[in-house]
Assembly symmetry: D2
């Protein structure tokens, strides 16, 4: 324990309180400090300009909420909560995202990395500072923390704190993303939720009189997905990034990179030979630096996508449905006729999320459902009590979009290619143009 | 004008309203989008973790406040304000920081660049997209906008909107830095200040009944400097950055860099041959990428400072005064005895600011003083009305600090070097250890 | 028009802007100033202590939102909105609640008053200052303003601004009640809703890209009803007030009041002879003053209920259903056995609201449904687009509660009356005890 | 102790946490519930309309801050703080304002009551419910709580928590008044102040690294006085109330009241025979009720002032100085010539406050100065460290105003009385007209 509590100022939680030396030491590792250089929401700041916050601030926020949950459990439910679990919970909260790379999902898709597996390696591989610090607690402590993040830790209370349909991770990111984007969709009553959260032998439940606060959190989460995380322009920037990295990989594999444009820190990823040490050198700025190199690269596609990414020129999009999906080949042909390689200049992108679901043992990935504890101690699943939650429970929501160059929308009288493309839009093949 | 107003969501101003096509086009230039990759407060996020916002969001904020001032002047003082000045004011507001480089003042110090001169070049040099867009308004428009930023534009109302002791720039950064750091020192009543701001032939004054809102702004600004901008740990990170860049330059000049660690985009700056195009490729991430390269560099000082910067290991510090300044050579000698090169591992750093000053024609850089308009139309200078402002007016505030490695504070029984160093601290040669 | 805009500071809207002399004059009438002495939420401050705000501040808030809507319509849709309608809209907004009495619905129930009819009289009866001011605009202007409030005004845009399922009234009270109670259930994005609101010939619609902001408003409203407006303890205080006034009326009718306890300003209401002038003398404090008188009154019921109301001793309650309704007579009998007059010491109270409904011409009170305007100009009713709204659309929500003295819950071993009463609760005849 | 913590929702502190049965019982007494009917800021809501909050919510806020201070002292300074003092501190915090009457200072002035003496009686007189509850803790407990409020309690830490230049009372009212008026002058960093507050044997000090937070609090307090508490229009309403009560007293003493207008609950105060029980029946609404009676009273002055108070028609005012004070008799004569009784229709009113002062043993009422604890444990008085605090320390600030009827400003060509009055204003006899 620290001789005196240390605090970090935070715009969302006001102060983040640290009392364990091991937590402070973990924060001060290079592996954790690196999260300052990875934005929490990737490219979303190109649409919601304030979304410039990093995985570092989010990780400290998840830690802080977990700390508050432990304090509440210790004070109010000493018989139901074993406070010797606190340190493993706090470490798991702090470190749950430490394996994330730059522009997470897009990078993973191209380079076939897996941030969860990497998180486990950062915790358990003896080469890291984080592992070293965790090992000093106990030889098996790194593995224990990793098992919380993996959901294999035996105490379900600890696992659900960090990872469930209402956990410290989600609660922090909703509040933090709302704060930084300047929207209020993600706001909910954290203080009240913490008050009504209670441990029971099989996990964490919520007092019946706090049902509406939990309902409000689920609705907020649904709205954040609809409004922020699935924003079509933001996805248009992700498509640009995806195709940019894909093009770079293709060029590298064709042996066409020359020294002046050499993305030194990315080479192990192009070659599939990367080590953990290579991975920990990456951040958003490293990728952007290479994109800057490529602004002058002879390949017109690499050059154009680098510029699109750095100067925010997303592809446009419109939604299609299963009824109109069959028209996409025609649209791609028209894009090709207009002089754009459709492999890079078109894309299909869908964004779907399950806002909430009751437990379904037959599903591929059964969710830990949210349990509301009645006055008599019995548990009722949330959606049976809330018509709002029932309305969105078990329903995938989102849309499918077709992406294409903005040029396709230009009004140039003499080109039938453009006119034909726009004709499809006018006739409803695609709707909700953004 | 745009067919329909376009808005950008912003956490500080809620929405930023754009009605001119030229403003939208300027925002979409590569030169302006680059500001997304330069943090507004440089290294301050290592102390106030939420301070991750960029010069991009700040620049849009300055634009928005200027737009609101123009709207207010147009509606309330149509005889005193010529609304045909609006566009030049808006462009100057948006672009006033476009010449900033990464980690601004530190970078400028080492590489002898000047962000104000570069701003002028970005506006007036025909190679840039920004110049191209401004020229379409009128051939002399780039120069007009630049002259507002230079304070040479003939209309003092426009100049003071953008640059004075109470201007759109300062008002946005105080609010934005307060929002992102999560402190409330920088809060003041923007709406009320905008209401009491009024144009008069020689510039901008404030209605007498708004004096307290202006006073509150000056006090807020003073407090932000004391609490945020002059934070000793933040300055300790700036010292690290300064010495890191200085070491890299020294190594380059000694011809000792090898290819694998080659900071390609920085070479023109080491060589003093950089062009505007070279400058516009730089951002925070580019510098961080090279620091990542240097984590493996054979030179122990470059390597250590790269790690200090990336992993947040600042130098420690304490204040000294003119009375104790003569002891610094001894302290430096002890640092050297402990095995640290004092050229890199010690520093003197002072931070002083003039929170407010009345106009003094004899000063090197006379300030446009804040004028309060009485009911009879006469003007009174702010500090004559406010005892709070008078208390800090014309007084430089800040401190001088001596920086050194944290190791010097270690309790190692057998080393007289450390004991002697600490002895100086105990005897008050240095105080306010941080 | 005023020579210079006048503002009122407001915690919800920051400033309330007044430009018309007539609006300022209306605010300064005794009839309108009286609203300062009537709390917006009646007895809700006994549960949410901050809910101490008045109908005065709310009325100015409704005015301000209406003013902002008019500004937006004038700037963005000059062809669809006739700005000469502004003044009638503003007056109707300001005055829509001017006929409210103290503790509105409870008072109305006992004394058979009707605040809507009284509003009309305040506007149209030549004795009032408000009528006098309105008449100076035009002889038929009082009637025009009244007809907006009555929904008979020919322009549906004006009517819907003030009174529809998403109007200035509801938007202000949700924000204001949320602010003052310190809950965030009532928060929604007012700025965005105002941006996407648009006039069309048959009323007001909302741009498709603002659908989620409208959805969020409906959900917020639903949650405020569930959490604040229907709070069981608050309703327990309303029951106390209802029975207190009923008892006083009964005593008066029985001729049993004596001079020292004489509720002078209430007598015309006991006698059914009240005039508008009598009505305008009432406020919350007048009623409380008489309750204070009655603390010493010989009748034990009047005395006890006066004390219950002034010292916040609500009746307790639990919900019943159609299945358990038949047990209420037994419960009342037990309350009587315990020595309480069940006419006063028990009550059934239900609170139901229709959070939103699509237009149904067959309903008793068809609602103006919320229309979302698609890109092609067609209108779609909100609940067809939003699963959340569909979930609560057309569904009455609320509960039925049985109220009784807290004493019935006491654990006094020897009394079988209490035990029997509690036995019913244990067996589920009543649930959700509060 | 309560079986489970009970909370009250509060807009300023989010939740107010109660763990002691005695605190809950005190809140539920008629004496304490009565504070709901007395506005914290008296007539200030006639200028800052949101200032409708009561002494009840403020009292709970003072309790909550005190509770947080005790928690912090117990956790961080167990050797310096005796937690058995907690209950006396909490009770004193909760009850410190319980003796306030309606429209406090004005009422006291006319009826010669003293809220501090009455507070002591409410605590110590065996007739009250509060006394009864306190006595159950210990026979001498009522007296102990009263002695904290009187500053005679032996433990200076407890006294300073409740009453010093930076105490729970002031901290709550600044935050709460700022919240409800919607201004941000009163905001300061409560969380940080609580963190740096520390007990020492002679009282409470503040850590040196929190000096700026304390400075900010003092500046905020100064600004609230200047902007809110001393507002000239608000004082104009206090003058109206003062003269209204004075007139009623004069009429009563002259025997001229008749039954229909009889202010029953005020009679003991007119006669000087009031008991504690009489006092506890008063609240803002009782006074307003009698003012409503008097709207029809034959005496034109009583009638006019009743209407002025209820319908918000303040006297106007302007400042005078020691140089122009000699002109006031002339001005009063002119007011008399215009037909107004100058005894009622004019007034001199000054508002002065000492924002902060260092301890001065020679002063009539020496202040407990704010001590900043240096790293070496020595104490330094705040104003020696802060130029802002030094600027306002020991300086009375405020102004003197002359009040008169608005009619005196009318432009009626033929009346030389009005012209002469206005002439004085034009020539600067009075300035800052409001």
């Amino acid at each position: 324990m620290l001789p005196r509590e240390k605090v970090f100022r935070d715009p969302v939680h006001n102060y983040i309180h640290v009392r364990h030396q091991v937590i402070l030491d973990l924060i001060n590792t290079p592996e954790f400090q690196r999260l300052r250089r990875i934005k929490q929401l990737g490219v979303a700041n190109t649409v919601f300009q304030g979304a410039e916050h990093s995985r570092f601030t989010h990780s400290l926020g998840v830690y802080e909420i977990t700390r508050q949950i432990c304090d509440s459990f210790k004070n109010n439910y000493p018989d139901q909560w074993d406070d010797s679990e606190r340190l493993v919970a706090l470490c798991a909260a702090l470190l749950h995202d430490v394996g994330h790379g730059p522009y997470s999902h897009t990078f993973e898709h191209i380079f076939n990395t897996d941030h969860e597996a990497i998180t486990r390696r950062i915790l358990c591989n003896e080469s890291t500072n984080i592992n070293h610090i965790l090992r000093e607690v106990a030889p098996d402590f790194p593995q224990k923390v990793a098992s919380v993040i993996d959901h294999t830790y035996p105490n379900p209370q600890v696992v659900q704190m960090i990872s469930s349909q209402i956990d410290a991770d989600r609660m922090d990111y909703l509040l933090r993303d709302a704060y930084n984007t300047g929207t209020n969709y993600g706001l909910f009553d954290l203080t009240r939720i913490l008050r009504v959260m209670r441990p029971y032998p099989d996990g964490i439940a919520f007092d019946a009189n706090g049902m509406h606060a939990v309902e409000d959190y689920i609705v907020s989460r649904f709205q954040m997905y609809q409004q922020i995380y699935f924003h079509p322009v933001s996805r248009g920037m992700e498509v640009v990034l995806m195709h940019l990295l894909a093009r770079a990989k293709t060029l590298y594999e064709a042996g066409r990179f020359d020294a002046a444009y050499n993305p030194r820190l990315l080479i192990p990823f192009f070659e599939g030979t990367w080590t953990l040490k290579d991975y920990l050198k990456l951040d958003d700025g490293v990728l952007n630096t290479y994109f800057t190199y490529w602004l002058d690269y002879p390949d017109p596609i690499l050059k154009d996508f680098s510029d699109r990414f750095l100067s925010r020129r997303p592809l446009k999009s419109a939604t299609f449905t299963s009824d109109t999906e069959n028209l996409l080949p025609d649209l791609r042909t028209l894009v090709a006729e207009a002089g754009f390689d459709p492999e890079y200049y078109t894309a299909e992108n869908d964004s779907f999320d399950l806002p909430y679901d009751a437990y379904d043992p037959s599903s591929a990935n059964p969710k830990t459902q949210i349990e509301i504890m009645q006055l008599d101690g019995s548990l009722e699943e949330l959606s049976t009590l809330s018509p709002l939650v029932a309305a969105i429970s078990g329903r995938m929501t989102g849309d499918k979009r077709f992406y294409f160059p903005k040029t396709m929308l230009q009004k140039s009288g003499d080109s039938s290619t453009y006119q034909q493309f726009q004709h499809y839009l006018l006739n409803g093949a695609l709707i909700n143009l953004r």
